[in-house]
Amino acid sequence: MSSLVEQPRGIELADRPADVAMNMGWTAQAHEWATTVDHKKIGIMYVVMSIVFLVIGGIEAILMRWQLFYPRSKVLDQDTFNQLFTMHGTTMVFFVGMPILIGIGNYFVPLMIGARDMAFPRLNAFGFWVTLFGGVMVYMSYITGGAPAVGWFAYAPLTSNTFSRGAATDFWALGLIVSGIGTIAGGVNFIATILGMRAPGMTLRKVPFFVWTMLWTSFQILLAIPPLTAALTMIIFDRQLGAHFFDVPNGGSAYLWQHLFWFFGHPEVYILILPVFGMVSEIIPVFSRKVLFGYEFMAAATMGIAFISLSVWAHHMFCVGMGRMPDLFFAVATFLVSIPTGIKFFNWLATMYGGRIWFASPMLFSFGFLSMFLIGGLTGIMLGAAPFDFQLSDSYFVVGHFHWVLIGGTLFGTFAGIHYWYPKVTGRMLSERLARWQFWLLYIGFILTFGPMHISGVLGMPRRIYTYDAGHGWEIWNQLSTLGALIQVPSYAILVYNLITSLWKGKPAGDDPWDAWTLEWMTTSPPPSYNFEEVPTVHSRRPLWDLKHPEDPDWQYE
């Protein structure tokens, strides 16, 4: 490894956040975390919050799978089940998926661009606390006598007072408005940081790929979340002030809600996947020991996805009777997304090809991402073929598809990122042995859970049903799904165990355990609160490669 790693930094031990924390009482520590504006601590809090919600959402999923194990089973009643899938979807999208990516971005975007913090540290802290508060608020609905039971896309007029009595739906809508404000704050912060605070020499064409994807994710956040905020406000006004937005007998429109929701909802999917594209685009090169193949094309493909994703929302609405021409338009737009996505895929493969692939845990999870996300993308093409979607829409096939994208894509990629960057955050390595157990249990359990859903969907099983009759050939596939879900459980337990125990049991990591190339590996692990003693100067996309190979630096080729 390079001599860089051993370079003395001249940083007092007490400056390192982890060491400072060790010398404090727990109240002082809690105060420290609650009032911090350090992007790294906020990032950690985002990730911890997401993992807590991941466990909650997972428990909800297990309960649902238990109910569906047998036809006409009576484990849960219909209201409980309907509340569970509403909360499961809401939790996983708004309080796991987005915050975990924003959290990782929070920690690493400033480090990767050689900045000392985010552009607006206090706004950053505000964003986190507001997001957390939104999540708590949605769960507060339980103490009003039950969670909302409207589904995470909450089709009007099911959300009206007539069909959803009680306060649960109000808590849900308000919670999402509040956490949405936090997300927008995060998006604003990322854009200001990435566009305004890059290290000298790091032009926009030279930013690490993860930073580039976070930039476009942030633009999507800014364009997609506000329409949701507006639409949720309309729900609140309908419910609390007697407005008529979605009140059909008085001229309101149930159809409008679907357009507004999916105008948010589809870009949301890309908000959840673009940062992951960024993470694996950092990891695959490092563990293949090759530069990212076709950076410019990858960058352009990211932009392409970000733009096209704004015009595909109504592919969630093929069955509402839009007519042939709109159906065709949205089918074509949906197919078009597969072109930039394909470009990305081929470039990842080309990066690996001819490399020296080291299967440490980050690479293993990246492999999981590549092999599984592909399938999610391909079933997405099937759903994009509008007439095929007339059959598949709202069936278990769709449930299988989007879990394949969100677990096979987002979650595997995020776990790759967590295993890649944990040493930087804590100064300790995660246990490779546990990581391997976690990976294979997840890989097998995941395929077994969501593979059969494609089949039960094709066999006519609609989503969101709390029970079903025997005799349609659905039983075996549901039982396999439940079995798969049970196999996944220990995998998440291992992750949490590994994350916690490695804090003190893990091997010391050093500054640059993976012999990587981006700026975050230049500073100590964990980094000091000011990140870099001296703001680095950058000449290429791989500044550390340039330092480690002064005889053949990257800037000659870019």
Binding site: Y155, Y295, C319, G321, F335, R356, A385, F390, S395, G460
Partner: protein, 341 residues
């Protein structure tokens, strides 16, 4: 893997009455969707094999534990011709998919014609309710029908000489629902404030199952669909019976009086009586239906009595409450209902 499982399963379930597989189409529309589906399966399957193949090959061929690594491999920054090639390939595939999708789309989405004599065409309004289906029979073969029934659709079967399609006009009385009988057609949503349309046509007589596919509240799971495809003669007989007002048997006059005196009539209708409620299924020919509660239980004297006593244990959350009838009143009412053939 999915495809193999699918084939095995098709063999097992095909022909059984519970089959709701979209890969066992029983109508021209469902058939053209299957054709499109198989085409997309093949295309995506090929992509799958090639890409996973390259991935696995790279992983196997180029893996090397860190300890064995010396120096760095040659760095390749990219290649314009290669990028152009693998942009062009998916673009061509997309172009092909757009063509076949368009063809199927025009195949499947039919505009509704006007009813006229000799067209052998049935027109039915379908109104989705929480959690049951209302069918308003408009006309058949140019004849005005104008009766209402619930939960079980009857339609005539087509044969090689004559097409007997049914055009459904889909509306909702409350929240969004979706009409899905997988073997007959793709689903179409019933959205309050909108009017949608769906065409069914099949040469396969017998029962087709389906269910509501858009989450519509507590009992969404139990909003089942039953389509009885009758021979033309059976269908005409059924039409003739349904067109009549309810039978008035003197033997159940007491029950009839009890029924009309209770709040049943606020929601239910029985043609030919003062009961004209529209919030719940029309009961005029209740006993011509095979099931109760939108298809979840068989329609027998016992289940009917259970249902009248208290529907909540059978379909929890459904909008019909238990009325706390005396045992005698309840027996009288059930006996009256049993006479509604």
């Amino acid at each position: 893997m999915d495809v193999i499982g699918q084939c095995a399963l098709l063999a097992a379930v095909r022909g059984s009455p519970g089959n709701m597989s979209i890969f066992a189409p029983a109508s021209p529309g469902a058939h053209s969707i299957v054709d499109l589906a198989i085409l997309t399966f093949v295309v995506t399957g090929l992509i799958f094999v090639v890409v996973e193949g390259v991935l696995l090959y790279s992983v196997w061929r180029f893996r090397q534990p860190r300890v064995e690594q010396t120096g760095e491999p040659p760095q390749v920054y990219g290649s314009m011709p290669i990028e152009v090639a693998w942009t062009a390939a998916p673009t061509l595939i997309v172009f092909f998919l757009v063509l076949v999708t368009t063809r199927t789309l025009w195949d499947v989405e039919k505009t509704q014609p006007k009813s006229k004599p000799g067209d052998n065409t049935l027109f039915v309004n379908v109104i989705g309710h929480q959690w049951w289906w209302e069918y308003v029979y408009e006309s058949y073969d140019g004849r005005i029908l104008g009766f209402v029934t619930a939960n079980e659709l009857h339609m005539p079967v087509s044969d090689d000489d004559t097409m007997r399609p049914v055009y459904l006009t889909l509306k909702s009385a409350d929240v969004c629902h979706s009409y899905w009988v997988p073997r007959l057609a793709g689903k179409v949503d019933l959205i309050p404030g909108r009017v949608n349309s769906l065409m069914l046509e099949t040469k396969e007589p017998g029962l087709q199952l389906g269910q509501c596919a858009e989450f519509c509240g507590a009992q969404h799971a139990n909003m089942l669909l039953r389509v009885n495809v009758d021979t033309p003669e059976e269908f005409e007989r059924w039409l003739a019976n349904e067109s009549k007002a309810a039978l008035e048997e003197s033997a159940v006059a007491d029950g009839r009086a009890k029924f009309l005196a209770q709040s049943c009539v606020n929601c239910h209708a029985v043609r030919g009586t003062p009961a004209r409620g529209t919030y719940a299924p029309d009961l005029t020919h209740l006993m011509s239906r095979q099931t109760l509660a939108s298809g979840i239980i068989e329609n027998t004297p016992e289940t009917l009595a259970d249902w009248v006593r208290d529907p909540q244990p059978i379909k929890p959350g459904c909008l019909m409450p238990a009325f706390g009838l005396t045992e005698r009143d309840q027996q009288l009412i059930v006996r009256y209902l049993l006479s509604l053939r």
